[in-house]
């Protein structure tokens, strides 16, 4: 079972709350996904208001809410948001997002590391969204991040794991769970991440903007489970050339 900061998760699919056609569609899709961890943008919701359009449909018994700092341009803004979120929602869990470029929403590695160091000291459980940079992953882990969340490709692009080479290194090296976040556009992408050994994936856009979010959420849930099973069962290695079935060819000089 997946464990992050001492908490266990049966589902390895994490969900989001953005871009849905309505709060009700979002609620149904999250239920169908079987997820137990849901991220909410602090800019979008009012955590302290039970009547908030998103908060009112999220079952706090079912989900661990993971507030995120989407929109923060630097460490200072992210830290301030985090403190307000903790005060309003009572949770120390935080998905740290420092994305100074509103166009690509790519994470700022320098400010993300700075904010992680600070927030961990302040007692937060920090899951930083990061570019797929293996050394940065190690630095964040050393700073006390509870998990690292490297991107497959930029948020909302549906491009899949364009960063596969670096993500493999991160998975190989990390002591903390690795959650592939952003850019997973199809269940096959999620399955690929899980087959690679990722501990979990976070999917939002691909579910929210699909023609049938509930069905797509179910498809992702199955893909994540399949990918994890395959990883645990042990995948055969992919080969460039066919393996000779009679390996003695060329060795007939041996006595």
């Amino acid at each position: 079972m997946l464990t992050i900061a001492g908490r266990e998760f049966r589902s390895r699919l994490f969900g989001g709350t953005g871009k849905f056609a309505s709060a009700e569609v979002m609620r149904d899709a999250l239920v169908a996904s079987g997820t137990e961890m849901v991220t909410v943008a602090l800019r979008r919701v009012d955590l302290a208001d039970p009547a908030d359009d998103i908060m009112r449909v999220l079952d706090r018994e079912r989900y661990l809410l993971l507030p995120n700092t989407s929109g923060a341009r630097d460490a200072r803004e992210a830290i301030r948001l985090a403190h307000l979120a903790r005060a309003a929602g009572g949770t120390p869990w935080l998905k740290l997002e420092v994305t100074p470029d509103p166009r690509t929403l790519l994470p700022d590695p320098v400010e993300t590391l700075k904010a992680t160091e600070e927030l961990v000291k302040d007692g937060f459980i920090v899951l930083p969204y990061m570019n797929a940079d293996p050394i940065l992953a190690l630095r964040l882990q050393d700073a006390g991040a509870a998990a690292v969340m490297p991107l497959g490709s930029p948020i909302g692009t549906n491009q899949g794991i364009v960063t596969a080479f670096q993500v493999r290194i991160i998975i190989e090296q990390a002591r903390v769970p690795v959650v592939v976040d952003a850019g997973l556009g199809a269940p096959s992408h999620a399955a690929q991440a899980m087959e690679m050994g990722a501990d979990a994936v976070l999917v939002n856009t691909a579910i929210a903007v699909s023609g049938d979010p509930v069905r797509m959420a179910r498809a992702f849930a199955m893909a994540v489970a399949a990918g994890r099973d395959a990883y645990e069962a042990g995948l055969g290695e992919a080969r460039e050339n066919a393996a000779a079935s009679s390996p003695e060819t060329g060795l007939d000089f041996l006595r």
Partner: protein, 368 residues
């Protein structure tokens, strides 16, 4: 600094586009400036449906099934300019007033009660409604609203920086027209007659740290196709210079206003639509604003196809929310008279989520 190319060269870049150029633009993975020219050209007219589907896909991918909702709050119709087309022109005999801070706050509270969380403060150009007034108002409103932007006279960078610290999130400043000759004719007197100073204003707002900068032009003053290319070039320049800033574009069509101005080059609905699609395809991350200048039928039809932000329940006269029958003159008469609840219901009926809060005042508090 951004310099507008000769308007004639923009016009010929658009006029020279062929059907093959349009097809190439529609198939391009990252459409560039030449593609934008093609999409704005007459050769693209038969491709409106293909443009719609690409625009809708790009918008959905980036913004999901959401439309952001805001309301304008007119704080003053005093104006030193004599823009030929504007209801607030100093030439026009309308009832003039600038709301006191208390009056402006009362209007804002009304909008908040109606469910608005994003405000756009609007005023004519007059010393009474300068940086000090706006700063004081922002400080009063910042805890009530998630985002407060301004559409007022051009300010200096320091002015924008002060307003940013007071809680202002964004600025919109439209060039009105990128055609310098027409610009000179339309703005014969007042500070606004300086084309270059106005053109450099969005960059000053971005340099001051404002989160969002809106640009655009008024449809009806000159050749909309060349204007569309100009705004695309301006946008591309701003994106390179200020990569931390979010940008929006608005295409206000001329509406009936005091003074009875007739637009020299009116833009019809199909043309407005082509313009919106072309800009969306050119820049998938762009916020596209569609205000209540357009009527309900058009705004409902465009949901999901490109625009990302709608105003609702708007009144363009200062004090008009509290006293709808008040005497102060309006800037123009709106085309969509529905309330915020009616507009939100129409958005939901189309399968989209009307988003009232998509920012947080907390972001600005770190600036202080």
């Amino acid at each position: 600094m951004f310099v507008t190319p000769e308007f004639e060269s923009l016009r010929s870049a658009v006029a020279g586009a062929t059907e093959a150029d349009v097809r190439r633009a529609l198939e391009s993975i990252r459409p560039g400036e030449r593609d934008l020219a093609a999409l704005l050209s007459p050769a693209a007219e038969p491709f409106l449906a293909a443009m719609a589907s690409r625009s809708a896909a790009a918008t959905g991918q980036r913004f999901g099934k959401t439309i952001q909702i805001y309301a304008p709050l007119y704080v003053s119709n005093l104006c030193a300019n004599r823009c030929l087309y504007c209801g607030f022109s100093a030439e026009n005999r309308i009832d003039r007033r600038a709301l006191s801070l208390d009056e402006a706050e009362a209007e804002a509270v009304l909008l908040q009660k109606r469910g608005f969380n994003h405000l756009l403060l609007v005023s004519g150009e007059a010393p009474a409604v300068g940086v000090e007034y706006l700063e004081a108002l922002a400080l009063r409103l910042r805890d009530r609203f998630a985002a407060i932007s301004i559409e007022v006279q051009p300010l200096e960078t320091e002015g924008y920086a002060r307003l940013f610290r007071a809680g202002i999130t964004g600025v919109a400043v439209y060039q009105e027209t990128y055609d310098r000759v027409t610009y000179g004719r339309m703005h014969p007197a007042g500070p606004k007659s300086d084309y270059v100073y106005r053109l450099a204003t969005p960059a000053r707002g971005a340099a001051a740290g404002l989160r969002e900068v809106g640009i655009g032009f008024l449809l009806g003053l000159s050749d909309w196709r060349a204007e569309g290319l100009a705004v695309g070039l301006h946008l591309a320049w701003l994106r390179k210079a200020f990569w931390r800033t979010a940008f929006t574009v608005s295409f206000p069509r001329m509406r009936p206003a005091a003074g009875g101005f007739q637009p020299p080059q009116p833009v019809n609905e199909r043309q407005l639509t082509q313009l919106l699609f072309a800009l969306r395809i050119f820049d998938p991350d762009l916020g596209l604003v569609l205000s209540t200048r357009e009527d309900a039928r058009y705004r409902d039809g465009m949901i999901g196809l490109g625009p990302t932000r709608y105003s609702a329940g708007s009144c363009t006269a200062p004090g008009g929310y509290g006293s709808p029958d008040g005497s102060a003159g309006e800037q123009f008469s709106v085309g969509d008279h529905r309330s915020i609840d009616e507009v939100c219901a129409a958005i939901r009926a189309k399968g989209f989520d009307p988003v009232r809060k998509d920012w947080d005042a907390v972001f600005q508090q770190t600036a202080a």
